[in-house]
């Protein structure tokens, strides 16, 4: 086949394509749908809906602890973030406002995806399906999460970290909290379970615990190795405590003694200071107690609720989750 023939075929093919493009009836746009519940999304996005249903976002209104702290949301201030209007409606970067309906669904599909024009923010454009997705880069940006989560400074903490710097080390909210279902095939989307502080494995990956002696004095190092924000982030509820105890030569373990607390206090806790550990930072804590000259065990615990039943005699093994522990010989 010579060049002329090839060119002829190409022109013919292009002409045929042009004719199809001109005379083909465009795919019909789907009529706008009134989005009144995230259960509507499950009709097509069952997997995503199931993941979200298992998430803490889905329980933002019904969770027992928040009901207790807000007196069943008679503290109206809590509604702004626990049942927000769609963030695209109030605007990415703006503060969320409370909504009137489907509050039991908490931070739901509609809250994050519904746009002002009735379409759904997504990763592609398609006007032929009921949710009429529109590709919106803002959807996965930290600013979208920040409308609520930066009320506690989490996004600002990330911005100050090395993870926010462009380049190969760049990682943002979705990198850790909404990972790709299949890293080899991004078209399969991201996990919508949005794991965070309730996932102990994720918490464990955030920090490292090291113990050593310096002139016989135990020195405990805690390093924020994996979180792209403070450890722990979010004020009020989250806390992480370093405890230690002596171990007698016969293996008998002493009582846990508190060494340090990582926490940002809530607004009512007057005079308390913020001791969260920023991303990439290390804190070194010395145990000056003579009882620590022998063998000791050091442990880092994580608490979803900051208070112990008896602050003077805290029992971290019962009331907190063990993140890491280490033993140190005399």
């Amino acid at each position: 086949m010579n060049v002329r023939s090839l060119a002829g075929i190409a022109v013919a093919a292009l002409g045929a394509w042009a004719l199809v493009a001109v005379f083909h009836e465009p795919a019909q746009a789907h009529a706008p749908v009134a989005w009144e519940s995230s259960s509507q999304c499950a009709e097509c996005h069952r997997q995503v809906h199931d993941e979200w249903s298992s998430s803490w976002h889905a329980q933002a209104w019904t969770d027992e602890e928040v009901r207790l702290l807000s007196d069943n949301f008679s503290n109206l201030d809590c509604i702004d973030c626990h049942a927000p209007q769609p963030v695209f409606e109030t605007g990415i970067g703006n503060r969320p406002l409370a909504r009137s309906t489907r509050r039991a669904e908490g931070v739901d599909c509609i809250a994050c995806h519904l746009m002002k024009d009735g379409r759904m923010a997504g990763t592609l454009d398609n006007h032929t399906v009921s949710c009429r997705p529109s590709a919106q880069r803002e959807l996965t940006r930290p600013e979208a999460c920040g409308v609520c989560h930066n009320q506690h400074g989490t996004v600002d903490q990330w911005k100050a970290s090395r993870y926010a710097q462009p380049g190969p080390g760049f990682r943002d909210c979705v990198s850790c909290h909404m990972p790709l279902r299949d890293p080899a095939d991004p078209s399969k989307g991201r996990v919508h379970a949005m794991h965070g502080g309730h996932d102990l494995e994720l918490v464990r990956s955030a920090v490292a615990l090291r113990v050593a002696r310096d002139g016989g004095v135990p020195v405990v190092e805690v390093e924020n190795v994996g979180a792209g924000h403070n450890y722990p982030t979010d004020d009020r509820s989250r806390a992480s405590d370093v405890f230690w105890r002596d171990i007698a030569s016969d293996g008998t373990k002493g009582e846990w003694r508190k060494l340090h607390r990582f926490r940002n206090p809530y607004r009512f806790e007057v005079g308390e200071i913020d001791t969260e550990l920023p991303a990439g930072r290390t804190i070194a804590l010395r145990i000056a107690d003579p009882a620590a000259r022998g063998e000791i065990e050091v442990a880092l615990f994580y608490k979803l609720s900051p208070f112990y039943a008896d602050a003077a005699r805290a029992d971290p093994e019962r009331e907190a989750a063990l993140v890491h522990s280490a033993r140190l010989a005399p």
Partner: protein
């Protein structure tokens, strides 16, 4: 030719990918301006800046020191205190330094507080108020100093302290200071401290503190001509005209406008404090909040509407302004609820119209909530239409709660049973269903309202369980 074909093809493919775009929410056609910022600027000019009196007079400083050192003297103490109170304004910064000097003996610091208060000036009151507010940044702050400052502020005439005192009351942990703040607020016709006094009277560990709080409650209600603290508290909440309401000074208006302007801030902490403060301000603040409904900033307008809603019947005067704001698409759901809460009966028709299926579910639900707070029997029929199973659940629930409050005696049994069941789960809209079910329960001839209204004795879920028991027992067999 090729170029033409390519252009043809491209235009065809572009046409295909253009999705129809629904019109965006149109901003309000009302004339919106920077209302809050303009009022702050105007009042700042009118009242002038807060100036620190010049205090570089060495002789005066020596005199202040000498007088303060004499206050503990049995013979010279009274005279020294009187003289301190009559010193020139230039002494005030010197006295403020003594107030904040933790090394000084308590008697000298108390004398400094009294002298700062006796000046009854903007500067002196600012020093006392700032000392109280410092609690929020200091650990183990001296509670006795705060109590003295609060007491002294209640003796003066600086009413602009009210918004900041209300905000501080949200954080105050010392019971004695709470008592004096509540008294100081009452001095300026603000009885929002009565709730805190009731809590201290019930829960303080020390008997004399409980007695002090109770004495304050009875003293304040007696002074207003009410037979009991509960009667005064009820009248205050209802915006009863028998509760004295002195006019707001320009300085106090400035403080209120500053809070309103702060609604545009991004951080919720300050906004939460602002809503808390203004919802507890005097009725006269409602006029300022009503004006803010025309602010160009959406958040200022929204939180002004929410503050009016939380102010309740005391904000009745804002009804007409709210009714106008109902046409603001960004405000509609907040205003609908506020209209009911402030008791604007003229809004009934507009709210009923917003139950229509042509409106968004958000608006319909908010309108039903507004009608619930209005609790007018005449709304019952319009609400009944939305109680059937085909209505969206949120609307059906809100209309059901409203139906109970509007006409509890003839509420359908199935509706009551459904609302009780939802309430008992403790995970729904209990803030809506609780007052509705109380209205239904209170209408029963055998209602035990004392049991229903018993002070909280545990967690919210324990309270719900207790009340759900009462409700179930009251259901017709």
């Amino acid at each position: 030719m090729k170029r033409a074909l390519l252009a043809l093809a491209l235009s065809a493919s572009c046409a295909e990918s253009t999705a129809p775009i629904a019109p965006l929410t149109t901003p309000s056609a009302r004339n919106l301006t920077a209302v809050a910022r303009a009022n702050v600027a105007r009042l700042e000019v009118e009242v002038g800046p807060l100036l620190e009196p010049r205090s570089d007079d060495a002789e005066l400083a020596e005199r202040v020191t000498g007088l303060l050192e004499s206050v503990e003297s049995a013979t010279l103490g009274r005279v020294a205190r009187e003289e301190l109170a009559s010193l020139a304004p230039a002494s005030l910064p010197l006295l403020a330094r003594r107030l904040n000097d933790a090394e000084l003996p308590a008697a000298q610091r108390i004398a400094a507080i009294e002298a700062l208060g006796a000046a009854d000036s903007r500067y002196g009151a600012e020093q006392l108020l700032a000392r109280i507010e410092a609690m929020r940044t200091r650990k183990n702050d001296e509670a006795w100093v705060r109590a003295h400052c609060a007491w002294r502020l209640g003796q003066g005439s600086q009413d602009w302290i009210v918004p900041r005192m209300i905000r501080h009351l949200r954080y105050e942990t010392d019971h004695e200071t709470v008592i004096w703040i509540a008294r100081a607020l009452a001095k300026f016709g603000n009885y929002s401290g009565l709730d805190a006094l009731e809590v201290v009277a019930r829960t303080a560990v020390a008997a004399d503190t409980r007695e002090g709080a109770n004495a304050a409650r009875f003293e304040l209600s007696g002074a207003c001509g009410f037979g009991s603290p509960e009667a005064l508290a009820g009248a205050w909440r209802a915006g009863d005209e028998r509760v004295p309401q002195p006019p707001l000074s320009r300085l106090r208006q400035l403080e209120i406008w500053r809070v309103i302007a702060g609604f545009s801030e991004w951080q919720l902490r300050g906004v939460d404090d602002g809503r808390f403060t203004l919802a507890r301000e005097n009725s006269a603040a409602a006029a300022l909040l009503a004006e803010a409904l025309l602010d160009e900033n959406r958040y200022v307008r929204t939180h002004a509407a929410q503050s009016l809603e939380r102010m309740g019947a005391r904000a009745r005067s804002a009804g007409p302004a709210l009714l106008t704001a109902l046409d603001d698409p960004e405000l509609e759901i907040f205003v609908a609820e506020a209209l009911g809460s402030v008791g604007c009966e003229a809004a009934e028709g507009e709210l009923i119209a917003r139950l229509d299926a042509a409106r968004s579910l958000e608006v319909r639900t908010a309108a039903a909530r507004g009608l619930a707070s209005l609790a007018l029997a005449s709304s019952a029929m319009a609400l009944d239409v939305h109680l059937n199973d085909s209505a969206p659940r949120d609307l059906r629930f809100a209309a059901g709660c409203a139906r109970l409050r509007c006409s509890p005696l003839d509420a359908p049994a199935a509706l009551v049973t459904w609302l009780i069941a939802d309430y008992a789960t403790g995970t729904g809209e209990t803030a809506s269903s609780e007052p509705a079910l109380r209205a239904w329960y209170a209408a029963r001839p055998d209602a035990d309202l004392a049991a229903w209204d018993a002070p909280p004795d545990g967690t919210p879920s324990a309270r719900i369980a207790r009340r759900a028991e009462l409700l179930r027992a009251a259901l017709p067999r």
